[in-house]
């Protein structure tokens, strides 16, 4: 009496890949959903700098290896994420050179060493790589966020990072800049500046990753405008970390969720996918940040103790109501 839903990846076959960020826990708990519905999986943590390379001569490959194996066995493409970031990079990268400090050359050398090992091991197994993550400042006039990368290497650290990355992975791996709130007008302008700068300075960048951690109080028009502007640079677009929170950013949250909040989330999700489909000539991949509502990084963040339900599948692995609608619309 309850109709089986057409798998997401089938419904969107002619539009773009459908992805999910997955942890080792997800591969264990939610592999049924991943296998059935997803054509792309992003490494939630295991391909970030520190988890993979916590000390100069220490490498953890097991989680990433498992993810790559899972992808191969199930015909699922793998997105890599994200070495050059202001978070989750070991302090050792930025400290402790010959004179006690790290200079531009030494940091670039270390980055090169890291990317070579990564590229040699996974270059053939991934289709996209978020090379630089979240380098743009949220507020103020400064374009770039203060980070150790920028401080030590200089303003061109991203150009360097993209050039190094390109050396060690085959052409089939598309290189991305990735950021959140990438459609907020002020931040969007800054990111546009950065992307143009990268292109003008010979950075081999292929695409723009829009994270899309959103909530229903945000502007869909801003999302559309951002997609058009990024595409106008000749870049490919990936939606890399989609989730639609039930709560406005600043809400303190309540124990119970209202019918109204649920309706807004439903409408927002359906509209977002309508937009993505209408730009499928430039969007190649849409990834949610997590697999199902059993676990999401928004549980307890930014409001402690508040459970969120921002993904495409219920905690019991069933598709949510808007997911059915999204699939229905895609099949029309």
């Amino acid at each position: 009496m309850y109709k089986e839903m057409v798998p997401l990846k089938e419904a969107f076959e002619k539009y773009f890949l459908i992805g999910a960020a997955a942890s080792p826990d997800d591969l264990r708990l939610h592999s049924d959903i991943l296998k059935k519905h997803f054509s792309s999986v992003t490494a939630e943590n295991c391909m970030k700098f520190e988890p993979m390379h916590p000390a100069p001569d220490v490498w953890n490959f097991s989680d990433a290896d498992e993810l790559v194996r899972f992808g191969k066995e199930n015909g699922i493409a793998i997105r890599a994420h994200a070495p050059v970031w202001h978070a989750q990079v070991g302090r050792w990268m930025f400290e402790d050179g010959p004179d006690g400090r790290v200079c531009r050359e030494l940091l670039l050398e270390r980055l090169e060493k890291h990317m070579k090992v990564f590229g040699d091991r996974y270059g053939e197994s991934v289709y996209a790589w978020d090379v630089v993550n979240e380098a743009v400042a949220d507020s103020g006039e400064e374009v770039l966020r203060n980070s150790d990368w920028k401080r030590i290497i200089g303003e061109d650290f991203m150009v360097c990072a993209f050039k190094i990355a390109r050396k060690f992975v085959p052409e089939s791996v598309k290189l991305f800049y990735n950021d959140y709130n990438a459609f907020f007008p002020k931040k969007h302008e800054k990111i546009m500046k950065v992307l143009r700068y990268l292109q003008e300075n010979g950075a081999p960048i292929d695409g723009m990753g829009m994270q899309q951690h959103v909530n229903p109080s945000m502007s869909l028009d801003d999302v559309k405008r951002a997609i058009e502007n990024y595409a106008s640079l000749g870049l490919r677009l990936h939606v890399t970390e989609l989730d639609v929170s039930l709560f406005p950013t600043r809400s303190t949250g309540a124990e119970a969720i209202t019918d109204r909040a649920i309706q807004k989330q439903y409408d927002f999700y359906v509209s977002l996918f309508e937009i993505y489909r209408s730009y499928s000539d430039v969007i190649d991949s849409v990834t949610t940040w997590g697999v199902c509502d059993n676990y999401t990084w928004l549980d307890g963040f930014p409001v402690r103790g508040r459970k969120n339900y921002p993904l495409l599948f219920h905690y019991d692995h069933e598709p949510k109501a808007y997911t059915r609608k999204i699939v229905e619309d895609a099949l029309k």
Binding site: M1, Y2, D25, L29, H30, D32, A254, E255, A256, I257, T258, D259, I262, Q263, Q265, Y266, D293, N294, Y295, K307, Y309, H314, Y315, D316, H317, E318, K320, A321, Y322
Partner: protein, 342 residues
């Protein structure tokens, strides 16, 4: 839009009432669900002794009033819950200055309490859990040594039922308990009910809380229903939920639990819950000659008393509606099964 299921309580109209325990905030947040699927409502807390009668000379009716008003407005019946309980009863009830209150004082206070509630709500209540959880969990024991028992005397249960009957003569009166299908506890409940019946105490029904988990034994539940039905009383399922987690086998200190990341439930647990709910409702339907009301302890998974209890930091999903208020797949089956037989 995301709740295209037919009304659950309409599907069950020929079997029993479908109820939910609610707090006032649910009347706003879960309004649509409550109006569509439920024809019985229980105050989760608002009618308990402490919330409604916090001081000897002060009643706080606001929360309870809201729920009664909502029920009346929408033609929903109300189960009242639960004046005589060892928990959520204020200290003043059992105190008399520096001393414990004596039997007479306690009887007097209980009468005042019941009289006030009955005067205000008596006409709007169809069933009342008069005494809650009076029996011990351990095998070999019988009545729980509560302050009611110790200060008022072993006949406090009898007195409670007679008092409520006196002030609310038209309401069906219930004894209510948990783990009621566990054989030794089941037998003690039957013993208590029969003792009350032998003394001519006005009791009309047994409330089976049915806080179960995915590993509980359905045969035990059936046997309990039959044992309770053998008393000739009406049965209500009063606090149903199906926890995803079996109880812990060993006692782990809370401070330790709080520092442990809690594992997320696996698909298998949800499948077991699905089957458990379908099977339970099949059992309830097959005993619908004696079961007249089935109430879940909460409305939807976004809030349940089993969140963080008994394990801190652990979210549970024990109800029939998802956190986003849409029906879970087993609920469609449950509604469908009722419609099929009609």
């Amino acid at each position: 839009m995301f709740d295209d299921m037919p009304s659950l309580c309409e599907a069950y109209a020929e079997y029993f009432k479908i109820g939910a325990a609610v707090a006032p905030r649910d009347l706003v947040s879960h309004r649509g669900l409550l109006k569509k699927h439920f024809n019985s409502i229980t105050h989760e807390n608002a009618l308990k002794f402490a919330p409604i009668h916090p001081e000897e000379d002060r009643f706080d009716f606001d929360d309870a009033d809201q729920i009664f008003a909502f029920a009346e407005e929408n033609g929903i019946a109300v189960r009242a819950h639960a004046p005589v309980w060892h928990s959520q009863t204020p200290d003043w009830v059992f105190q008399d200055g520096a001393y414990f209150a004596d039997r007479e004082k306690l009887i007097d206070r209980l009468r005042t309490h019941v009289e006030a509630l009955a005067a205000r709500y008596g006409d709007m209540i169809y069933a009342w859990d008069v005494v809650n959880e009076a029996i011990v969990d351990e095998p070999g024991g019988y009545l729980r040594p509560t302050k009611w028992y110790t200060l008022m005397g072993p006949d406090y249960i009898e007195i409670a039922f007679r008092t409520v009957r006196e002030f609310a003569p038209k309401v069906q009166l219930f004894y209510n308990d948990y783990n009621e299908w566990v054989p030794h506890k089941r037998d003690n409940i039957v013993r208590l009910v029969r003792e009350l019946q032998d003394r001519g105490v006005p009791i009309d029904g047994i409330g089976m809380q049915q806080h179960v988990n995915i590993t509980d034994n359905l045969d035990d539940i059936k046997r309990a229903i039959e044992a309770f039905a053998s008393t000739g009383l009406v049965l209500h399922v009063t606090e149903l939920d199906v926890s995803l987690y079996p109880p812990m086998k060993i006692r782990i200190p809370r401070e330790f639990l709080m520092r442990m990341p809690q594992p997320k439930p696996a698909l298998e647990q949800f499948k077991k819950q699905h089957k458990m709910y379908v099977d339970l409702f099949e059992i309830y339907r097959s005993y619908s000659d004696v079961i007249k009301s089935v109430t879940t302890w909460g409305v939807a998974d976004d809030y349940t008393w089993l969140d963080n209890y008994p394990v801190p930091g652990r979210k549970n999903y024990p109800l029939m509606f998802y956190a986003d208020h849409s029906p879970k797949p087993f609920l469609r089956e449950i509604a469908g099964a009722a419609a099929d037989r009609r």
